[in-house]
């Protein structure tokens, strides 16, 4: 059996009285493409934030490539790249400058920088626009650049938090092609969340479904269908999570802060 590269054991994240993540455990194998699915507010983003050192778990243990995420933060940070749910480029710098800054922050050796940046920008078809300011880029171009940037320090794990949100079909297909190639050719582990179940079905080798901060089930698409007696991932997903819509702890943007805000609001009332 391949070794685990991401391990979560009984991870809890509590914002006041609200348990955003309620004792989840899972393993992701080296080189695997792993999808994390769940309704809005289920705890997906909070989990990614804990995995990527942005939030500290209340209890439990998280490991990336053998490094404890809270105790060996810097090693853990070097092991992954991330494409955030929200845009995270510096708008007033050029594509090349954004890449260069990232290379410096991750201590990519000077001699290799230029070549790596060029290779990656060519891969995402942005080399010809390398000197354009990000503010002139479309949503799809930004996403592609973010992916290229996330790969610049050659991470072992790539986190993608709803990477295809707001992208057109062409760009989405292109993006997933890159991702598959990375997994096949470089053995990179991919951990992603999405609301598009067809994507998850097509790309993910294994899927975890999370709801109300708990992992309901984990398995391949076939296993999930078998488990629920359904034919597609979507049918299986709806059967597991119910077909009613959810409110997040607070309406508006989708991040862990919502819970804190909700808490603040209830305290005010």
């Amino acid at each position: 059996m391949a070794q685990s590269i991401i391990t979560a054991k009984n991870v809890v994240k509590q914002f006041g009285d609200i348990k955003a993540v309620d004792g989840i455990s899972f393993d992701v194998k080296k080189g695997e493409i792993f999808a994390f699915l769940g309704p809005n507010g289920a705890g997906k983003s909070t989990t990614i934030k804990m995995l990527t050192t942005m939030l500290r778990p209340t209890s439990g243990r998280l490991q990336l490539a053998g490094h404890d995420v809270t105790k060996e933060q810097n090693y853990a940070r070097k092991s992954f790249g991330i494409v955030f749910q929200d845009p995270s480029l510096d708008e007033e710098l050029s594509a090349y400058e954004n890449m260069e800054l990232h290379a410096v922050l991750y201590e990519v050796p000077k001699a290799e920088r230029q070549k790596r940046i060029q290779d990656l920008l060519e891969l995402v078809e942005l080399w010809s626009r390398k000197d354009s300011m990000i503010k002139t880029f479309s949503g799809g171009m930004r996403r592609r650049l973010e992916i290229a940037r996330g790969l610049l320090h050659e991470p072992k794990i790539l986190f993608l938090d709803e990477p295809t949100l707001g992208l057109d079909t062409q760009t989405r297909n292109l993006m997933w092609d890159y991702v598959r190639k990375l997994s096949q050719e470089k053995g990179m582990t991919i951990f992603f969340t999405t609301h598009y179940l067809d994507e998850a079905e097509a790309v993910a080798e294994r899927i975890a479904i999370i709801d109300h901060g708990k992992i309901i089930t984990t398995g391949t698409t076939a296993e999930l269908c078998q488990q629920t007696g359904t034919k597609t991932l979507e049918a299986a997903y709806l059967k597991l999570t119910g077909s009613t819509t959810r409110d997040e702890a607070d309406s508006g943007n989708n991040n862990g802060l919502n819970f804190k805000m909700a808490l603040r609001n209830t305290k005010l009332r």
Binding site: L55, I82, P87, E92, L93, L105, L257
Partner: protein, 248 residues
């Protein structure tokens, strides 16, 4: 070291690419120099106090770097709101380094603004008392700019929205400027104003610059330097403390 340089460079690039920001923060000091320097100058002279422009310019330079420093904090707020801060915070670089690099960049921007105002005031008739003292004056300006950039960064770390930041401007920048020794000599104002100004670190920054640029002082350079050093340390502590608490 390279990390700090890269973060510093980012701030400088953003500054020279934004012509509107340069003009925006220069408009106010120029207006103040014209309206007060020339408008009040005549009366000031008649009252036997000497050349008001000489008195005013160090105050306006301080006001420029105060405004520029606090408003530089907006970049941290923008990074927070528009996502770039997430990128910075998950890198293997410590928050202290991120803050130091960025704040040095912010301070450099303020220094350039302050120097621009200095040269503009030369065009308007200001003459430094002794050109040799202009060098230490700019040296001191570095410390002042760093303190104020840290203040701006600390405040930006605490607030979450741009309206809130506007409020800070009205609540903090204006009183700090008007209730200081920037505009009027402290020896002839009512006691309450003198007391308030004496508790305002901006007064000491103005006073030190005024000593070096115009050979006038109220508190004495020694006291000025002590207050500036303490203020710098306090602002740095405040910035690190607040920046470390940012949760994404």
């Amino acid at each position: 070291m390279e990390v700090i340089y890269a973060l510093w460079q980012r701030q400088i690039r953003r500054y020279y690419r934004s012509g509107s920001r340069i003009m925006g923060t220069l408009g106010q000091p120029i207006l103040l120099l014209l309206a007060l320097g020339y408008g009040i100058g005549a009366i000031y002279k008649r009252a036997g106090e000497g050349d008001y422009m000489q008195f005013l310019v160090p105050g306006i330079i301080t006001q420029t770097v105060l405004l520029s420093g606090i408003f530089w904090g907006v970049i941290i707020l923008m990074d927070k709101r528009f996502g770039f801060l997430s990128e910075l915070l998950v890198t293997p670089v410590s928050r202290a380094k991120i803050l130091i690099g960025s704040a040095l960049g912010g301070a450099t921007v303020s220094i350039m603004q302050g120097m621009l105002v200095f040269f503009i005031s030369m065009l308007l008739g200001f003459r430094p008392y002794d050109w040799l003292l202009v060098v230490p004056a700019f040296g001191l300006l570095v410390a002042i700019c760093l303190a104020l950039a840290c203040l701006g960064a600390g405040i930006a770390s605490m607030v979450d929205d741009f309206q809130g930041f506007q409020g800070i401007n009205n609540l903090l920048v204006m009183p700090l400027f008007f209730l200081s020794s920037a505009l009027y000599p402290l020896n002839s104002v009512p006691t309450f104003l003198r007391i308030m100004s004496s508790y305002n670190p901006i007064s000491y920054m103005v006073d030190a610059l005024r000593y070096l640029l115009a050979n006038q002082t109220h508190f004495g350079l020694e006291k000025d330097l002590i207050v500036i050093a303490v203020t710098l340390a306090a602002c740095m502590y405040f910035a690190v403390n607040r920046f470390n608490r940012i949760q994404m």
